[in-house]
Structures are given as structure tokens and as C-alpha cells.
């Protein structure tokens, strides 16, 4: 980790000094334990602010949309994939971005840790290769890191950025993912009534803050469908009928594009399991089109392409 951090700083300094980029998008230390915050470095003297650790969780590609300066961006596997999707969708100019790829072994989902502390506050945290040491008022605990990784990291198949301009550190082995859709299959096995109850229970928690949408690297519409008012496309209340429509339509909008970075679920203040929707759609796209988003700059979006061999069993005569 420390070596990768040093390399990131060196690369950032070099890119800025040689004027290959105008700005570096990375992470710096956050104000709370187990947190980092996005960091924009323009001056090569400031690269020491950049950090790399298991809490670098926010996808930074969002900041590349509409950016006129040439940017170097730190990207884990999922982040690089979302940048690729944005490039393919003509939202980011390939010539305007230098992807600094970092192999990733998963990031920590602090909500999973907090859930076990029964309201006690984490005041200090230290993360080692396999452990998380946390301290608070009158308590101290050592946790196995692998049990507290983000759900999307547990099922990740592309820990190494598939596309990058500069790679930092050694590639990490990819995970065997026979169980990638296990959670989704559990939901699929439910009866329609049980599924309805499951999704209703999740989505009635929604407070329409749109943190999921706004942090999503692929939700870049300049005007979102929920913000259309003339005429009003969808109800804007937090009644479950309205929140459900919002989340279903958002999930459909990222079909074939979602890279399962898991940011939507992680940032949700109300702990809604949003991946239950997006991962299901990812599964459909995989089954139907054998497509995984963001793996190559040459790929075409499955829902934006017609192939004669596309399945069409849904067409009823």
C-alpha cells in the first residue's frame, strides 16, 4: 500500500511537472477514520497530499465529465471500467485523460464495521494487509479485513484496470467468481410476492436524496428524468410507489453500463441494497448479450447495438 502511494505521488508529480496533465484527481486523507476524500492537485508541490489505502472508495470519473483541463485520474479496476464506458459514450475525451490504473484488492465498507458496533463511534482506525484495527471510547477491536470489504469487491472479477495509461504496482490475481450472482439468485428464487415484499422494504427507506445517482460514475445526464417537471414524468414523493419507480428506472438506465463499483449502495444514508437491482440487470446483460461493461475501448454498448444473433424470445407472435 505504502509503495503504491509513493508511486502515485511520483507519477502525479512527473505528469504535472512535464505538463502532460493540468490536474490530478486522486484521494486525500478524510476528516473521519476509514475515510478518504477526493483531492484535486494542480501544483506538483502538493502531491504529498495524495494517499492510497483501502478506503479510496469514491469513483472519481464523475469529475472528468465536462472537465476541460487534461486530467490524470487514479483508477481502480471498476473506476477504469467506468471511465472506459464514459469514453465510449463520448462523455470523456480519451485524449484528455491519463488513466493511472491501480490494481485493487477491495475497499472497506465502513458501514459493515459500524453495523457491528451497536452505535459506538470509531475514533481511530488502522488498516494492515489483512486486518482492520479500530479504537473508540473504551473499546478496541481487531477485525479480519476480508469480512468487511464492500459487497461489490467480494464479487469483483476485474481488480486490475482493464484499460490504463500508466499502471501502478504489480497486477493482483483475479478472483474466481463462480458465486458472483449468488445473492441475486437467492432473490430470484423468491416468489413474486416475496420479491415484492423484499424490494418494497428496501425502497421504502429511500429519502430521495439522490446520493446513489449523483455518486454513480455512469449517471451523467445533464437533466435527470426525475428532474423533469414540464410535464412531471414521475412522482417526487417518498411514497414507496414513487421511490420504486425512481430506482427501477435508474437501474434500467445503467443496464449494460453499470460496472458494479458499488458506490450507490455504499453512499446510501439509509442503507438500501441498491445492488439487488443493478446486479440483477448486470446478470441479465451477461446472460443475454455476454457483455461486461467497460472492458475495452472498442466495445459497443449492448443496448445501443443490433446483432442478428441477439436473442428475441421476448417477441411474441
Amino acid at each position: 500500500m505504502a509503495q503504491i502511494q509513493d508511486s502515485i505521488r511520483e507519477i502525479a508529480e512527473k505528469l504535472l511537472k512535464e505538463k502532460k496533465v493540468d490536474i490530478i484527481l486522486g484521494y486525500e486523507k478524510g476528516t473521519l477514520p476509514l475515510r478518504t476524500t477526493p483531492c484535486f492537485v494542480k501544483n506538483p508541490d502538493d502531491v504529498a497530499k495524495l494517499v492510497w489505502n483501502d478506503c479510496c472508495d469514491i469513483p472519481l470519473s464523475k469529475y472528468l465529465i465536462d472537465m476541460t483541463q487534461k486530467a490524470g485520474v487514479i483508477a481502480k479496476g471498476c473506476d477504469a471500467r467506468s471511465i472506459v464506458v464514459c469514453i465510449n459514450e463520448k462523455q470523456i475525451d480519451r485524449d484528455n485523460v491519463v488513466i493511472i490504473g491501480v490494481p485493487c484488492q477491495g475497499i472497506i465498507d465502513r458501514k459493515k464495521i459500524e453495523a457491528e458496533l451497536n452505535g459506538k463511534e470509531i475514533l481511530e482506525a488502522e488498516v494492515t494487509d489483512d486486518r482492520v484495527l479500530i479504537k473508540g471510547k473504551n473499546f478496541e477491536r481487531t477485525l479480519q479485513k476480508k469480512s468487511y470489504l464492500s459487497d461489490s469487491c467480494v464479487t469483483c472479477k476485474h481488480r486490475n484496470p482493464p484499460v490504463s495509461d500508466i499502471m501502478v504496482g504489480e497486477k493482483v490475481p483475479e478472483q474466481d467468481q463462480k458465486e458472483e450472482f449468488a445473492e441475486i439468485m437467492k432473490i430470484e428464487a423468491k416468489s413474486p410476492d416475496e420479491r415484492w415484499a423484499f424490494f418494497s422494504k428496501e425502497l421504502e427507506k429511500c429519502i430521495r436524496c439522490y446520493a446513489c445517482r449523483n455518486v454513480c460514475p455512469l449517471c451523467y445526464c445533464s437533466e435527470c428524468f426525475v428532474d423533469k417537471t414540464m410535464p412531471l414524468w414521475f412522482g417526487k414523493t417518498n411514497d414507496v410507489s414513487d421511490t420504486m419507480i425512481y430506482h427501477i428506472v435508474r437501474a434500467l438506465h445503467v443496464a449494460g453500463r453499470c460496472v458494479d463499483c458499488g458506490a450507490c449502495s455504499r453512499v446510501c444514508p439509509m442503507d438500501i441494497n441498491l445492488r439487488a437491482l443493478t446486479k440483477k440487470i448486470e446478470k441479465i446483460v451477461k446472460d443475454r448479450f455476454n457483455h461486461e461493461a467497460g472492458l475495452s475501448l472498442e466495445e459497443t454498448p449492448p443496448l445501443g447495438t443490433f446483432k442478428l444473433e441477439d436473442t428475441q424470445e421476448f417477441i411474441i407472435e
Binding site: G30, T31, L32, R35, T36, T37, P38, F40, I58, K62, Y63, K111, E114, A115, G119, E121, L123, K137, K205, I207, R208, C209, Y210, A211, R213, N214, V215, E223, D227, T229, L232, G235, K236, T237, N238, D239, A263, V267, P269, M270, D271
Partner: protein, 341 residues
């Protein structure tokens, strides 16, 4: 006022039962992984062993979605039906002092000027508030520098102070006194109990003394509308509404008409200055086109405009926005940057 009373912790349920005789009782209940204020069902046991609720109790008085009226149309006429008003007496138990203080700010907003917001005020009038003092404020708390206190009584009728195996109950208002008089079996607090509570208060306040410096902030902001620092401060903001929708003092709302040919309803829903649509005009022009202007509005409103109208910051330092911001944009850092400018 009545002398402070003592409630043994193992009699909390009996205390709630007494309150339930004449009131609906709302208290922090753990749902999912967090606490929310919910109505207690008959005989439901609660524990006041929690830091704070995920959302502030504002929701009880200003629901995120509130139907103002419904209507039905037929060939002859339009029938309008106003929403039923809140008549039942309620008690909210376990509000933290920061959140209770926020209700006082909301009261000022909803009752000042020519227009009184009856929907809000009616609910407030029919609700007694019992607070729970904070022995151990969180690292994200900063109520003290903003004029509150972890043991503050503003906005409360009664205040519970946790002194180890019992609660000392301080009576703050006449409404509180009426409530407490009905619970006849409560013993009077001893001098020793009072001392214990005093020490807890001092410890809690000491922990918050250096939480933030805001001296002169309001005046400083007077000349900062065009300051270049706003270009930097908003940079990482992704423009969601977490900060506002978890904020105990944000009051902005939108009013919508949901119509079908045979009827419909008018609802008010929470809104936030962080959303692009908030200031978008019918012409399509938006005076706050980017997150820079929107973020500036949030800070200016809380620390400059509101104090000008009501002589108090519209932030109580509960720290919810700090904990929940997706990108760790910490309002304390924003204030510190402004103060250093």
C-alpha cells in the same frame, strides 16, 4: 419549577406506560442498522442506549411528503378535502438537545412574518418533547460553539440526564411539569444526584470546547459572496441532498399538484438548495447553475442570512451531514476555511 426527579433505568418501561395513557409516544427505535423516531406500539420496550437517530425528529413535524388536500372532480363540481389535522397528543422521548434546539429554529421559521404554517405549528403544539442529554458527544458533534449544549434544554419540556443507573429528570416548561406530575411514583433527586449530573454536563461540554471556531463568521460572510474560495469549496460536492435531507434545521419544501382527470392531490415535499431544479425558473434560466452557487447558498443561508433574520445560526452542530456526506465534504472544514480567509 418542580424539583428534579429520579427515574431508575429499570423503570423506563413503566415511565413510558404512564406517558402512553394520554399520549402517543414516539421514541428512537432501531430499524435496519440505525435508529429512527417511531411510534411505540403497546408494551414495546426501548433502550435509550443510542448516540443519535439517523434522521432528525424534524420528520415528525415536517414530513418529507405531506398531503395538503385531495380533490375529486365530476361533471358538476370539484370536491376538495383538506388533510386531517394532527389532534392527538404526542410525546417524543429521547430527543438529543441539538435536535430539540433545531425545532426552536424551525418554529421561528414557520411562525414568523405574516404567514403561520398551521400544519407544522399544530403538530408542534400537540407534542411534548422529552430530551436525553449527551454524556459522550460524538467526534462529529459541534453544538457548543454554535450556542447549544449537550445538556441544553432549549426546545425541551423535560430533560433526562443519564447518571449511571438512573435518569435525573429536569423539568423545563409548564408542559413538562404537567407531564411529570402525573407520574406520581418518581422520587425527588438528591443533592448527590444533582452533583453527578453537573459533573457529566461539565465533562460533556469540555469535550466540545474546541470543536469549532465561529466567532465573527456571520459578519465575515457579509463580504464573501464573490470570494474566490467558493470555486474551491464546492469542487468535490456531487450535488446530492444527503446533507439537507438529514439536516434538523433545513426547512425548504416544494409543493406539487398530482393530477388525474378524476381527481388528485396537492403535496408538499422536502426540497433542497443543492438540487439544480431548486432555483430553476419557468423560462429555463437558473440563477444557481452550478454546485458552486448551490453550496454557497447552503453555507450563506445557515451562517449569514438566517442569523440576520433570527439572530442565530441555522445549524445546531449535530454532525449528521459530516457522517453521511458521500465524499466527506466536512462542513467544519468549510467553516474553518472561511474563517481563515
Amino acid at each position: 419549577m418542580t424539583k428534579s426527579k429520579i427515574l431508575e433505568k429499570d423503570r423506563l418501561k413503566d415511565f413510558i406506560d404512564e406517558l402512553s395513557k394520554e399520549n402517543e409516544v414516539l421514541a428512537p427505535i432501531k430499524t435496519n442498522n440505525y435508529f429512527q423516531f417511531k411510534e411505540l406500539s403497546q408494551g414495546e420496550e426501548i433502550s435509550l442506549d443510542y448516540q443519535n437517530t439517523k434522521q432528525p425528529p424534524k420528520e415528525v413535524f415536517l414530513p418529507q411528503t405531506e398531503v395538503l388536500f385531495t380533490y375529486r372532480t365530476d361533471e358538476e363540481e370539484i370536491k376538495i378535502k383538506a388533510s386531517p389535522s394532527q389532534k392527538e397528543k404526542r410525546v417524543i422521548l429521547g430527543i438529543r438537545p441539538c435536535d430539540a434546539r433545531a425545532l426552536v429554529l424551525l418554529d421561528r421559521f414557520f411562525s414568523s412574518g405574516d404567514y403561520k404554517d398551521n400544519l407544522y405549528l399544530e403538530k408542534r403544539e400537540n407534542t411534548a418533547i422529552i430530551g436525553l442529554a449527551c454524556n459522550s458527544p460524538l467526534s462529529t458533534c459541534f453544538c457548543l460553539p454554535l450556542g447549544g449544549s449537550p445538556f441544553g434544554g432549549e426546545g425541551l419540556d423535560l430533560l433526562l440526564k443519564d447518571i449511571n443507573d438512573k435518569y435525573l429528570i429536569e423539568t423545563i416548561t409548564n408542559q413538562g411539569e404537567k407531564l411529570i406530575k402525573k407520574v406520581k411514583w418518581l422520587k425527588d433527586a438528591t443533592k448527590e444526584d444533582e452533583e453527578k449530573a453537573k459533573t457529566k454536563k461539565e465533562d460533556a461540554e469540555n469535550a466540545l470546547k474546541n470543536a469549532l471556531t465561529v466567532k465573527g463568521l456571520k459578519n465575515k460572510l457579509d463580504s464573501m459572496f464573490e470570494a474566490p474560495l467558493w470555486d474551491q469549496i464546492h469542487r468535490k460536492c456531487v450535488g446530492c441532498g444527503v446533507c439537507s435531507f438529514l439536516c434538523p434545521t433545513c426547512t425548504c419544501f416544494d409543493v406539487l399538484d398530482e393530477m388525474t382527470p378524476s381527481g388528485g392531490r396537492r403535496v408538499r415535499i422536502w426540497d433542497t438548495c443543492q438540487f439544480p431544479l431548486f432555483t430553476k425558473e419557468a423560462s429555463g434560466f437558473n440563477p444557481r447553475p452550478s454546485s458552486k452557487e448551490r453550496m454557497r447558498q447552503r453555507i450563506m443561508h445557515k451562517f449569514n442570512y438566517f442569523p440576520k433574520d433570527f439572530e442565530v445560526f441555522s445549524c445546531v452542530g449535530c454532525g449528521r451531514c459530516i457522517q453521511a456526506c458521500p465524499v466527506n465534504l466536512d462542513i467544519r472544514e468549510v467553516i474553518t476555511t472561511i474563517m481563515a480567509n
